[in-house]
């Protein structure tokens, strides 16, 4: 079946494995890692923050992406036009800019309007993470909305008709046939977008949220080591990505496709 079910003992896999081990040994012997113990606690916390951001924003973002995609694929104009506009604007401008405009743009308003500091919302307006979550969620929703639009439009029409013919309500057709078929179709892309989202999370460091990337930049600027902290970061992201990719593979393989 799938490649992951084949044995690790195949010769080329052993070669790949050996190369990997070689790189790790080289890095361990020839590079400086004495800083690691000092930062390990903070690194773990940072990974926690990164994961929390990733899961929260991709889950929320996906929830918005589905209606966004559906509205664009099959909605009436008064729904599809705003949905399309939202996706275009968000996808059309860099996330960093959005984050900035949200956090510092609003912040500069607060400076002129000090009364807001008395309101109940101030603890949230004051913290950085709500802005990060908002911006990341919108971004994921917009990109994924676009992917879902294509996926919804690609489901064979006949299968939807079959659902309708059995008296399924539009929602049931959607929930039981259209959505699962579309998601299955979008899974490879979705996996990629989620990894992209993982790599977008570091941007929140610019608005004072301390994720794993912020810790690593801290290490870099403290120690002035060029490659070591970045290699560690790469390793951490690789492991997170590996888990994501495997999870998506598993989902994909749940419905076998011929060919």
């Amino acid at each position: 079946m799938g490649p992951e079910l084949r044995s690790w003992k195949e010769p080329h896999r052993l070669v790949l494995l050996a190369i990997g081990v070689g790189i790790i040994i080289f890095a361990a012997v020839y590079m400086r890692w004495d800083w690691l113990p000092r930062y390990s606690g903070r690194l773990v916390e940072g990974v926690g923050t990164t994961l929390w951001l990733l899961f929260l924003t991709s889950a929320l973002g996906f929830l918005f992406a589905v209606p966004l995609g559906l509205a664009q694929a099959a909605g009436p104009v008064w729904l599809s036009a705003p949905a399309r506009m939202f996706c275009t604007v968000i996808r059309g401008t860099p996330l960093l800019l959005q984050l900035w405009l949200l956090y510092y743009g609003l912040g500069s308003l607060f400076a002129f309007w000090p009364e807001i500091r008395q309101s109940w919302a101030w603890p949230y307006l004051r913290s950085a993470w709500p802005y990060g979550v908002l911006a990341l969620t919108m971004s994921f929703a917009a990109y994924e909305g676009e992917v879902m639009r294509g996926a919804f439009a690609g489901v064979p029409k006949g299968e939807l008709e079959a659902g309708r013919a059995y008296g399924m309500s539009p929602f049931t057709v959607f929930r039981r046939i259209w959505l699962p078929r579309a998601i299955h179709r979008a899974l490879p892309t979705l996996a990629g977008e989620t990894v992209l989202q993982l790599k977008a999370t570091p941007l929140v460091a610019t608005i004072t949220v301390v994720d794993v990337y912020a810790i690593i930049s801290r290490v870099r600027q403290d120690t002035y080591l060029t490659y070591e902290p970045l290699l560690l970061l790469a390793l951490i992201y690789m492991m997170l990505t590996g888990v994501l990719v495997l999870a998506f593979r598993w989902l994909e393989a749940r419905v076998p496709v011929k060919g």
Binding site: Y104, S108, Q221, D222, Y224, T226
Partner: protein, 236 residues
Amino acid sequence: ASAETVRVGVAAEPYPPFTEPDASGNWTGWEIEFMNAVCAEAKLDCVVTPVAWDGIIPALTSNKIDAIIGSMSITEERMKTIDFSDKYYNTPSVIATAKDSGITPDAAGLADKIIGVQVSTIHQDYVTTHFGDAVAEIKEYQTQDEANQDLAAGRVDAIMADSLALDAFVKSDTCCEIVGAVEDDPAILGAGVGVGLRKGDDALREKFNTAIATIRENGTYAEFSKAYFDFDIYGK
């Protein structure tokens, strides 16, 4: 003439009044004038090479540039990777707050407050060491400018930074004021700012050291600094 060419890396992100580009792409600022003076003195043909702050050390170690003039403080940690010339400026660190906040620049005054600093600066180290237990939270900003903006917005109660940077800020923004300098701690606040050099590039370092000493003595340093500062930025 046949002077040796030295590629001097500056941070591509502006850091006024030390280094900033203008709209025609020319780099200006105090550090650029300093560079011109030093290079003229040492008979070096220096060219400005902007590199993002993130890549400036690798650029130096992989020979893409030969020196860094970017307000880089001389610290023990950095000396493990690169060399420094002698210091060429040093300014005190101060704390700024909203007007009439009543906060004093010490642990007692900052108790249970939120304080903002630029990430990976000597100020961050200082705040962590001296106020870490007292304050409610230390917020880390990528640039000093962002910390300043959040002080104005009221998201942080105080910020700590270089006196020069904050001086310019409180003059341009009416929201805030400098409440005073923190107590000195040479172990953290370091020995000032130096030219970053590749390890082992001793010949170049000597040239810079001699030139810095010469322009200090012959008055060139004071001359070009006048346009920027009304005090001696070289420090103690």
